[in-house]
Symmetry: C2
Subunit: 227 residues, 2 copies
């Protein structure tokens, strides 16, 4: 998506790398339901197409398709990165050309897990999103959708997802568009959450939400008050 | 406060190190209004007593006094650390004996500021709270009150502060008591937020709330949904 032209998400193709995982599939489901054009990406094109077929059946949408991650990156206007952290760099590095000039939405949480639960992993670049920005210098990298519950996204009986979605980035046009994308999920508000250099704590805060979920037996989200 | 005995915050003396700063004074004001015994600490005992006198006048409380930080640490049951980050280690290190066995509530946000606003500072221990735990091995260290707006706390016209307060720590009795302390502020819910090793991102998230405040001209807080 070229800078400067004001577009609505309705006109765009939304690609989801790692779209067969829980978070990617949940987001794709909501966007498909909202009538957006969605491409599901996976390392394995057949798996991606099978996920896309499931989504078409579940939503009645005819604007969902699957392809391998490189194909999705090439054919999408906005590309959501929802791969596991340990596949993050290896997925993005070869896609630099395909993702040039495009809005990239990094959802990845660099977390470790042990007997005491999840914890923040150190990332040399500061965060997954800043690693994406370093690997994709010609892309417009934002960070978002870290906290929204995959369980609630995927549950068709949940009409409204009760959470705000923070959108971080240094490019106002890009963060505004991603906020609009967030708000295609019923119940969600898209809230600007700061510059990309402050993405690390937003990613890591997912560990706290997991702790809250365990303590309170919840699918916790966050709302920003006074906004 | 010795471990094992179940106490209510109403029976305890709450000390606030750095109680003459904005965050400390705002918390002390709300706790004084709620009828708790509060000790205001400062490097300068005269400044602490002058702040305490202001709080007595503002709240009608006769259970607020001031002293130097060491005196407050010695005489309090629960000790809130609300000093600036650059005074954090130097304030706590000499108070190890005074704080032994007590619940310590670290509110400190290690942030830097430049032209682009606030950003997370690297802390060798991982967070201010973990630094406190390293310096105070005999204390029961928790982390809390990072996000609550000092402006709203200090404003007597604000009847209810619309926010949840996350309380982190590895000692269930301590985090439960600090949650109770949070809930003495009208409008506030105290929510368990995870182990101390996950405090860094909660502290640093204050940078994101400052960015939100600037963008939306707000005094932002957070609510945890589905809890």
């Amino acid at each position: 998506m070229a800078k400067g032209r004001r577009l609505s998400v309705q006109e765009l193709t939304i690609g989801v790398l790692g779209g067969t995982g829980a978070q990617g599939r949940g987001l794709a489901y909501r966007w498909a339901k909202a009538g957006l054009s969605v491409l599901i990406g996976s390392r394995d094109a057949a798996r991606a197409e099978s996920s896309a077929a499931e989504l078409r059946a579940a939503t009645g949408s005819d604007t969902v398709a699957g392809a391998d991650n490189a194909g999705v990156a090439a054919r999408s206007d906005v590309v959501v990165v929802a791969v596991p952290w340990d596949a993050h760099a290896a997925t993005l590095e070869p896609l630099r050309a395909e993702l040039a000039g495009k809005i990239v939405v990094d959802c990845v949480n660099p977390l470790g897990f042990d007997k005491q639960g999840p914890f923040r992993l150190d990332v040399p670049e500061g965060s997954a999103a800043e690693q994406a920005a370093a690997l994709l210098p010609e892309s417009r990298v934002t960070a978002s959708f870290h906290h929204v519950s995959a369980v609630l996204l995927a549950d068709g009986d949940v009409e409204k997802v009760d959470t705000d979605v923070l959108v971080l980035g240094d490019d106002r046009e890009a963060t505004d568009l991603v906020r609009e994308l967030a708000e295609r999920i019923p119940g969600v508000r898209g809230i600007y959450g700061g510059r990309l250099r402050n993405a690390g704590q937003v990613e890591a805060f997912t560990a706290n939400l997991i702790a809250i979920n365990r303590r309170y037996k919840a699918h916790a989200g966050i709302r920003i008050t006074d906004v």
